[in-house]
């Protein structure tokens, strides 16, 4: 299927940064697929929604500029979904 417009505006670098971010801070046993192998779009969107909800961002599952801005902020290394 054609990639959605938002998808197209996201750079590969931002996409990979977001995947690494979700893998580090939002992977617990229930989303093992995030931590095990390249993220499927479905998994990515679900986990991104979780992160957007945590930070009070608009929950779209899409990598918009506000979400990327939060992802790039310096932060604590403890996961947001602590086991």
């Amino acid at each position: 299927a054609p990639a959605s417009v938002t998808q197209e505006t996201v750079s590969t670098e931002d996409q990979e940064a977001a995947e690494a971010y979700l893998k580090h801070f939002y992977s617990d046993s229930s989303t093992s697929s995030v931590s095990g192998r390249r993220v499927s779009i479905q998994d990515f969107e679900t986990t991104l929604k979780q992160m957007q909800e945590f930070f009070g961002l608009e929950v779209t599952g899409k990598l918009d500029t506000n979400t990327i801005k939060v992802i790039k902020k310096p932060r604590c290394g403890v996961s947001d979904v602590a086991e």
Binding site: P74, R75, G77, V78, A82
Partner: protein, 377 residues
């Protein structure tokens, strides 16, 4: 606020911590002071005390290191992850690691150590990340002014939900601001007006001069001399070997044996006593005779026996080439120094009852006095 699953918490009242590796960005003394202040944010509101230890395994082991540092979560270079901590528990429980690729500071520049340390110690006490952007436990770093910083309400509620409330806001009994300690008759108040009076120590504190002898000090104000028991002002201190005031911080330090205390006026600072080895003294130094801070050079001079040391307050390190013989650089002031202080730009060195007024910049003795002359006899 949130807690970790299972609500892990410390079951004892005193938690020990040890800093095994320091960051080169700040002096060790500054790191110690900030870490103490970060723990005090919590001990002010919950019935838990924190004690720094300098050897062996503490409950909370703290280090500053870049990249791989011994656990399964290597740091990622500048920015990104700044630090992390383990939840309460045995062994690695509570351990806290700071990424030394960051520029650690005490200000808004770089990464403020107090704010990040306080956040990580929240994890080490059992707090999870908070969704409240104004909370200390919010996951992303945000600088706020740390002058008079207190635990934000969300974090205070979170930690008190785990440990209960510490009744008095201050863990240590602290005297009311500006109390006038009442002179207490002690077992043997020293006689001030004796020509052969020898001081244990002397220092300026906030514009007034303090002369220490046995368990007492004489406080010299513009109008009077008060004789006061040391313990009645600084409860943890019985007598003093040496003392100096680091004016630019408004902190005075008292030395007794191989320990020292920090005070701000009548208030004893938390986290003391500390070992004098932190200044860089070898273990062979078991007592400091006298100390004086020389503002023009930013150095504190420590006198031990017939030698003296020079400590760079800015770098927090001893200057190279010390100790040196006192007579080598201070001819005329005597073979040893019992007490030393600065007053209106002149240094005063006491050797027994004799005191010399010394002009540091010119390196020469101006006058020879007697100690008791300061006590309005």
């Amino acid at each position: 606020f949130g807690h970790f699953p299972g609500k892990p918490k410390w079951e004892k009242k005193t938690i020990t911590y040890r800093i095994t590796e320091y960051t080169p960005d700040l002096s060790q003394r500054d790191v110690d002071a900030v870490i103490t202040q970060a723990f005090k944010l919590y001990s002010d509101v919950i019935p838990l005390d924190f004690k720094q230890v300098y050897s062996g395994t503490a409950d909370i082991m703290i280090l500053f290191k870049a990249r791989y540092h011994g656990d399964f979560h290597p740091f990622d270079g500048p920015s990104g992850v700044l630090a992390h901590a383990m939840s309460p528990g045995p062994d690695v429980g509570g351990d806290t690691h700071f990424d030394d690729d960051e520029q650690w500071t005490l200000s808004a520049a770089g990464v403020n150590l107090l704010l990040v340390a306080a956040h990580e110690f929240g994890h080490a006490l059992g707090l999870d990340h908070s969704r409240d952007p104004s909370a200390l436990m919010y996951p992303t770093y945000q600088y706020v002014n740390t002058n008079g910083y207190r635990l934000p309400l969300d974090d205070k509620r979170g930690v008190q939900a785990l440990y209960g409330v510490r009744e008095s806001p201050y863990p240590q009994p602290q005297p009311e601001p500006n109390p006038q300690p009442k002179p207490e008759p002690g077992p043997n108040p020293p006689e001030p007006c004796k020509r052969d009076l020898v001081f244990d120590a002397a220092t300026s504190i906030r514009g007034e001069l303090y002369f220490f002898k046995n368990e007492y000090y004489w406080k010299k104000t513009s109008s009077s001399i008060q004789q006061i028991r040391i313990k009645s002002t600084w409860p943890a201190i019985n007598s003093v070997d040496a003392a100096y005031e680091f004016k630019s911080k408004g902190v005075s330090y008292f030395f007794k044996g191989q320990q020292y205390w920090g005070v701000k006026g009548p208030v004893s600072l938390p986290g003391y006593p500390k070992p004098i080895s932190q200044f860089g003294f070898p273990s062979s130094v078991t007592k400091i005779d006298a100390a004086v801070y020389v503002k023009s050079t930013g150095r504190t001079l420590f006198f031990v026996g017939s030698n003296y040391w020079s400590f760079n307050e800015r770098t927090g390190k001893m200057d190279r080439g010390f100790p040196k013989p006192i007579h080598h650089d201070f001819p005329g002031i005597g073979s040893r120094v019992d007490a030393a202080f600065e007053n209106y730009g002149y240094l005063y060195f006491s050797d027994g009852a004799r005191q010399t007024e010394y002009e540091y910049k010119k390196g020469r003795v101006r006058r020879v006095l007697l100690n008791y002359g300061w006590l309005n006899c």
